[in-house]
Symmetry: C2
Subunit: 613 residues, 2 copies
């Protein structure tokens, strides 16, 4: 909306109240970042009460404009905004940072108006890209605003998001940079050099508007300009003062992340209250978004159509499966970082080009945009080489904290990729993902398991990771086989078993070969396909361990943080110990089979281990 000038006093008073409440809450908590709230208060007041269209009583309205607080340490400002809007009772704001309150130190989706957790700087714009892509996906005209600090624009992830925002011509996306010129420990790199900021955003294809972030008419005009700019996103670069509005904090260093003492706060309230001005008429209500549409309905995925014994790499089965899934579920989207012909996500692109997002070699924005898409109702499958998901490890961490519905897939894992060498071999992907307690971690061994697990991933909410493999492996499961999350498959078993070998993915086939070889010597082993690493079927593992006395794990992963550790955790309560076959040094280039053997994961190595008394 374009605001009637007669409402400027109201807006200015809202900004002042936001400052007061930010100080009040942080002083009550005894910690927090009041001065980071003070700099952005005018920008935020104008955004919420003179620009955005939303339902103050239904923050998750699917067609409402979105605001991502990328500078998550300004959480008290965000909470004060929703109190001003009427969603949070004003008196609750001083519960900030209490264990009993959802008003955490940095925003998390425990609060319904938070789409993704922030507080790790430089992540919000990627989520904003995802939110804007989702608007396009569902044909909605909601707008997405991301409030950033100037300091966080030093993060490369911001420029990945900027590039992708331009690439997709996301004119519904608006970045608001609160250039207060002060970081945590000193002045920011660019300080108040607004032209340096402008040059960067323009070079990345954005419409850039430089304003005084405390001049309300300039702020309102900038939002107008952003809304009317078509074909590219807009960055509003707002020159502000940290600690604005209070004489002893305004533009003062050494106030970052410090709550005012009660006596300081009292002085601040007095100064701020003196800034309240006469209003001439009441604020009109916040414009409502269109009615809530009916929810998107996923259909049922038909069963896979593989033949036992067919040689199909699970990465290929992955591409087939997500394309098939998208055919029955309109929420499903895929993202690629320029490896679609290796991960086979190109099959998704061929079938559903309008829901396939090519972000180029930029894994952080791939995961961050997926988080934003998921938060707004899509079911995103971002994929790349598993090794390169580590580039987005901090986004994965924040996806876990957000509990958001992202479905990561990583291909080309382990030494079994062969000649490309260690830089391309994910050997710590399970360590990275299983560390997050709410992550589901899956590792199918054949094409049927892959397709069934993709179906499971879409049906269950929450952050998930699937590892796929480069080498072709035979189809060993019938198309009718079920693969519930949290299950496992006992693929070889007899009453004479004296050991259990827990394998997954490519090592399952080594375990099966070891089973055969040992059987000729009269040694019988149980073989388990641990396709669900987290959650894990502890009861079945304990039962196998007790029945066969010895437990071995074999995995194409480093020894720490992988399948061996997961199994050991699962069976610890039964007092069982686990012998782990895993990669225990930095590997090198070589042929896949050669490496599988050199690093002790082969049928030969498994049989040798089992033969030990």
């Amino acid at each position: 909306m374009s605001l009637d000038a007669s409402l400027l006093p109201n807006l200015r008073n809202i900004a002042t109240r936001l400052r007061i409440e930010s100080i009040r809450a942080t002083t009550a908590a005894g910690s927090g970042h009041p001065t980071s709230c003070q700099s952005a208060a005018d920008l935020a007041a104008a955004l919420f009460f003179a620009e955005m269209r939303f339902d103050p009583h239904n923050p998750q309205h699917p067609l409402a404009d979105r605001m991502v607080m990328s500078k998550g340490h300004a959480a008290p400002l965000l909470y004060a905004l929703w109190a001003e809007a009427g969603f949070i009772p004003l008196e609750r704001l001083t519960d900030l940072r209490l264990f009993s309150s959802d008003l955490e130190g940095h925003p998390t989706p425990r609060l319904p108006f938070v789409d993704v957790a922030t507080g790790s700087l430089g992540q919000g714009l990627a989520a904003g890209v995802g939110s804007a892509l989702n608007a396009r996906r569902i044909g909605a005209d909601y707008r997405t605003y991301v409030l950033l600090g100037d300091g966080e624009t030093a993060e490369g992830s911001v420029w990945e998001a900027a590039s992708v925002g331009h690439l997709f011509k996301l004119d519904s996306l608006c970045a608001i940079v609160d250039v207060n010129g002060l970081g945590q420990s000193r002045a920011t790199e660019l300080d108040h050099d607004m032209e340096a900021h402008r040059a960067r955003w323009q070079a990345f294809g954005w419409h850039a508007v430089v304003i005084d972030g405390h001049d309300m008419p300039q702020v309102l005009a900038a939002y107008d300009e952003a809304r009317s700019t078509k074909g590219r996103p807009t960055a509003i670069l707002a020159r502000t003062q940290k600690g604005k509005g209070v004489s002893f904090t305004e533009a003062k260093p050494n106030w970052h992340g410090k709550a005012m003492k009660p006596e300081e706060a009292t002085r601040a309230y007095a100064e701020l209250e003196a800034q309240l001005v006469q209003e001439t008429r009441p604020m009109p209500p916040i414009p409502a978004p269109p009615p809530v549409p009916s929810p998107e309905k996923p259909g049922s995925m038909p069963p896979p159509e593989y033949k036992l014994g067919d040689l199909v790499a699970t990465r290929e089965a992955y591409g087939t499966a997500i394309a098939k899934l998208a055919g029955v579920d309109p929420r499903v989207v895929a993202l690629d970082a320029d490896v679609k012909n290796s991960t086979f996500s190109e099959r998704f692109e061929a079938a559903h080009p309008e829901r396939f997002y090519q972000v180029f070699i930029a894994e952080q924005v791939m995961i961050g945009a997926a988080m934003g898409l998921a938060a707004r109702g899509a079911v995103p499958f971002p994929s790349t080489f598993a090794a390169f998901l580590t580039r987005a490890a901090d986004f994965i961490r924040m996806a876990a904290i957000s509990g958001v519905n992202v479905k990561l897939a990583g291909s080309h894992a382990g030494v079994s990729i062969g000649e490309d060498g260690p830089s391309q071999m994910a050997l710590e992907d399970f360590a990275l993902t299983t560390a997050q307690p709410n992550f589901t971690v899956l590792y199918p061994a054949d094409a049927v398991a892959t397709e069934k697990l993709i179906d499971q991933m879409a049906r269950h909410h929450g952050p998930m990771y699937m590892r796929t493999s480069r080498p072709k492996t035979p189809v060993i499961y019938a198309n009718s086989e079920a693969f519930p999350i949290g299950g496992l498959k006992v693929v070889r078993s007899s009453d004479a078993d004296t050991a259990t070998v827990v394998a997954a993915g490519v090592t399952l086939f080594e375990a099966l070969k070891a089973h055969e070889a040992l059987a000729t010597e009269g040694i019988h082993i149980r073989v388990i396909d641990l396709y669900s690493i987290q959650p894990i079927d502890a009861a079945a593992l304990i039962a196998a361990g007790k029945a066969t006395r010895r437990l071995f794990t074999v995995e194409d992963h480093y020894k720490a943080g992988g399948i061996g550790d997961a199994v050991a955790r699962a069976v610890a309560s039964a007092g069982l110990a686990v012998t782990r076959l895993a990669v225990s040094e930095i590997p090198r280039s070589g042929k896949p089979d050669e490496l599988i053997d050199k690093y002790g994961l082969s049928a030969r190595a498994i049989a040798d281990a089992v033969r030990q008394p």
Copy 2:
């Protein structure tokens, strides 16, 4: 140097030979990226044989110009360059990608001319920043060149490095972007839009030069211009064709990462050999760097000066220790991402400002630059909140593959940070670092241990990580106590012990309180301070486990991938199981003590666990 025009035929022939050898090697290997070598061959030939100053027989010469192959998939080109220079026998190039050869699929420091492993795109420029900072540190005039692909400039890490290169006015640093316009799966985002490339580099403060990367005089002039540009780094943006020089690959899609079949290679050789031209005189020798200087000598660090019972946060002891270390060791440098007043690295800055590098909020370049510094002889201590090291997880992965001498430190770990909430709590830092088999992982509980371990970190080569804590903890060790890497401390022990509690960092003090509380009930527990998590003293843990029968771990980390798993791996061979007390859900804001208790890490929780039969 500025090349005599009469040598242009020689350079052109070198470029042609580099193309031939890149194809020959990849065809012999049956995999690899010949066309990515072909596009950069002219740039590389001119760089090595008409620009750089180095010793072809001593690639690690400390004063030689450096070349970082950021586009690591062009490894065959790099190897062909060193063969052309005489360091690698030509006939060895076809050993590419064999397990028996150090000529891996992507370059690693197993080869003496490789400073840091590449192959995860977007990392080389950060290493180049580190290399250039090191030149300044040692007062050398060597130059650092980084060869990038255009596709990898989509990685945000490139822009972090660009920003820091400009910030430090690194005019000895030169980025060469091989803009061949083709990524792996399709055209790059910017294709051959050279002006879009130029705008980005200029906006980040670089001198940008756009050239035809196959026009040898233009290439030479660009190197001249880069060398004579002062006060800022130069980016040479070279328009090239992927697959250059061979009719059926030049500017053709679908050739990324594909070796030519032998018959295709034969055709390619014929085409390329026809491009060889008459030379008029022999190439002069490569200009030699100055004589090798005598090595830098570290002195001995005086013992710490703490008093038993003093309350000192280990993060504070860290700041004190690195400042003290730098006083006796000229190799030591520190890097910060704008949290120096939280990590206490500001004490280093105060004492040694010339060796303190503020990169602002950009963790990837912080670790990447540290890698480059380390590869050139510095001993870098980059530090930030432990949670934000995950932002650089892929750099940490590549640091491990590089085996480089970086000393990471992460503060504010775990739920014990309290009110700031989960986004600021590192709870997966051990999972991330212990996964790397060659990483040393340390976690001191008091100030003495911190200082002694900092000393150990500097004395031992290799990638290391130290976790420090936010809360103040009492000094419990005498200043004379030794803390060898790979050791542990048995801090409470009696013959009556019926359980061992392995703790570290903040949980050690909970374990000590539990020890006291249980003793009043006649229950005796052994308490171990596991300050060295990797390597780990397996023998001592097994001995304690056997002596006390029950093993508990308690850690301010998620359950997966942390101390519990590390201990369990260490004692598995003895058939011992481990009961793990750890954070098992996504935590929330609250007071430190409250969270320690709510998530089951407190003295009360430990005592309860021990009391279970």
